[in-house]
Symmetry: C2
Subunit: 164 residues, 2 copies
Amino acid sequence: MIEIYLIRHGLAGQFGDFADDSLRPLSEIGVKKTTKIAQRLKELGLQFDVILTSPYARSMETAIILQSIGLSETLETLDDLKPAGDIEFLIEQLQNIRERIQSVAIVGHEPDLSRLAAQLTFGQNCENLVLKKAGVVGLSAPVDGDLTGQCQLFWLTPPRLLLD
Amino acid sequence: MIEIYLIRHGLAGQFGDFADDSLRPLSEIGVKKTTKIAQRLKELGLQFDVILTSPYARSMETAIILQSIGLSETLETLDDLKPAGDIEFLIEQLQNIRERIQSVAIVGHEPDLSRLAAQLTFGQNCENLVLKKAGVVGLSAPVDGDLTGQCQLFWLTPPRLLLD
């Protein structure tokens, strides 16, 4: 089994304050909370072989915080982690990389990440998984075969559960 | 919305050491960890209007620990929370009591609790939710209508996330 962690970007600046939504950064409190959560994940012993992130600023910053805390040496952007990316393509990507990894973190947006979690766990769309900003989902996935509906959901936390 | 917390009993004595499985109690370490988790739930501000529990010893003890920490004044046993109880009946019970509560904890066994969570969240059976001993699931539920497939899963934690 490999582990897949889906991590929503932290609290960002106000929508509308930035002409280009892709450039909207984390807010000051978003940086602080995301850093605390990254530290807690490190304390819990997590280590990712790679962090895949949406190229949008608020996700990139979140991913860089995770990396800077020492959760992974490697960080890659993936266009389909932008809002409304292709979930089937993301699942294929996960299937392709799992031979060479044991643990991956995926940083992105809602409702995409909770839809991805539902596809991996239940094999269908579902709007009933709630992933708050800086929330984390943990899935364990088989090392071969289609991942759709074959992953086990063992962790879903709102940020307050990982903050003091 | 009301909140429904599903809490699996803590670590119990060895299966086979007790002629009647319903009398198998928590182990010493099970009591300690369950108490720590109950304290953490209290710190997080949780409060239940009622704790419903399987009458089996390991669940009753878990429920009593939750009650003794101050998470609820009221504790009731429910026969259908025994292993292999009737999930449809449990959902009906939840529908019946929700008018007079805001938050309920349900203490019981696996795989029943994760199946109940899957029914409430996805409206179907699913074996891909992992609820370890002393694990917690948090759901928010509408105040009227059928609960099946209508609840939102916002919390699923293995015990280590709630221990120091």
